[in-house]
């Protein structure tokens, strides 16, 4: 590699790691350790999903690791119930109820989310399959977050190469109400590489991270980065699962988070007719 390229790469790495920048929030959503593919829930299909995570080795003080509020992450159970409906051939809508059980505390409401997600064009029309994701989040403050309302946007990219699928969801999040409202846009990422082995059981590797504000990333040790080997597949009766163990890679991350997502989808009837032949967005 030429010296000029090495310098540029080093600069990019320093920027991404946020060396020397002031502290701000780093965002990882512990209620949804899930990587979104290009494909959306099909028109007329209803998907019921529960996303679960437990922090087996976390932090003892609130505001550290996956805990954004006053409760510490150590021993926290995160539990989300998600209902998704395929509105059109390219757009789905979803609602979430997020719950949690902090260590030694009762199981309780933690927030809600509403989401729209879409895919652009048909499969393989573009060199990389592209989609989009827009979400409103409400949090119970100050227990589980210091911001009460946030808006999140993600582009979605997927590329299938042989038996491998590579997915990337960079996250851009803006606090609308509560602490951080006057700050800029936070940046995080969700990504995965999956190998299609068998329908019942296949391996994958997922990546989750939060780096702070776009223009003011956190010091590298305070960012959160997780590496999460997963097993995924489909059980009888169409029950799909994704189980994984996330390992925190920085001091700001929780050390070990175990996740288990289960989903089931059924056709319930379409509201809208099929998308027109010339459409690419809806």
């Amino acid at each position: 590699m030429p010296a000029q390229h090495r310098t540029i790469c080093f600069g990019v790495i320093l920027f991404l790691l946020g060396v020397g920048s002031p502290k701000c929030r780093a965002q990882v959503d512990p209620w949804e350790f899930e990587v979104y593919p290009y494909a959306t829930t099909q028109r007329g299909m209803l998907e019921l999903e529960t996303d679960n995570a437990v922090v087996t080795r976390g932090h003892d003080t609130g505001g550290d690791g996956t805990a954004e509020g006053t409760f510490p992450s150590q021993g926290m159970w995160y539990n989300a119930y998600e209902v998704t409906y395929g509105l059109t051939d390219r757009i789905e809508v979803a609602a979430y109820l997020t719950m949690a059980e902090p260590s030694g505390r009762p199981y309780q409401w933690a927030g809600d989310k509403l989401r729209l997600r879409g895919r652009l064009f048909d499969e393989d029309v573009l060199p990389v399959n592209l989609g989009w994701y827009a979400e409103m989040e409400w949090h119970k403050t100050p227990d589980f977050d210091d911001a009460s309302k946030e808006f999140e946007l993600r582009p979605i990219a997927e590329k299938d190469v042989g038996a491998f699928s590579v997915l990337a969801n960079p996250k851009f999040e803006k606090v609308l109400s509560g602490a951080g409202r006057d700050q800029g846009v936070e940046f995080g990422y969700v990504a995965g590489v999956y190998y299609r082995s068998t329908r019942a059981l296949s391996p994958g590797l997922e990546f989750y991270g939060g780096m702070g504000l776009l223009d003011q990333t956190e010091p590298s040790s305070e960012q959160q980065h997780y590496l999460c080997p997963v097993l995924w597949g489909e059980l009888p009766h169409g029950l799909e699962y994704n189980f994984g163990v996330g390992y925190g890679l920085t001091r700001g991350s929780d050390r070990v988070v175990i996740k288990f997502n289960v989903e089931l989808e059924r056709f319930v009837g379409a509201i809208f007719k099929g998308s027109p032949e010339t459409s690419w967005f809806y």
């Binding site: 299909m45 499969e123 029309v125 329908r199 056709f267 998308s275 032949e277 690419w280």
Partner: protein
């Protein structure tokens, strides 16, 4: 041009003439044919005709494709050039429907 390529939504589509097409029919609770061979390394379109009164979901795990097909409707599934190998297909709505196989040679 992109508009012409984005065709998945229409519930009953004729195949796109410019892309080589194979047809799979669903009737009497079975896919026909259950085994088909296609040339490897060439773009291809599968025209799935649901000639039955049942709603099905044409799915392939290996091809990473799934599409609902309404009764007496058809859909097109466009595939990029496939490497040689065997690729499954099945009806995800009915577990008792025999699974089929596409072999690219």
């Amino acid at each position: 041009m992109l508009g012409n390529l984005a065709r998945a939504g229409d519930p009953s589509l004729p195949p796109v003439a410019s892309v080589p097409t194979v047809e799979i029919r669903f009737e009497n609770h079975h896919f026909l044919p259950l085994h088909l061979e296609i040339p490897a390394g060439r773009q291809l379109q599968i025209h799935v005709v649901n000639a039955s009164p049942e709603r099905i979901e044409f799915e392939s795990f290996k091809l990473n494709r799934e599409k609902v097909v309404e009764p007496h409707q058809s859909i097109n599934v466009t595939l990029k050039a496939l490497p040689p190998g065997s690729y499954d297909f099945f009806d995800d709505f009915h577990e008792d429907v025999p699974e089929g196989e596409i072999v690219a040679r």
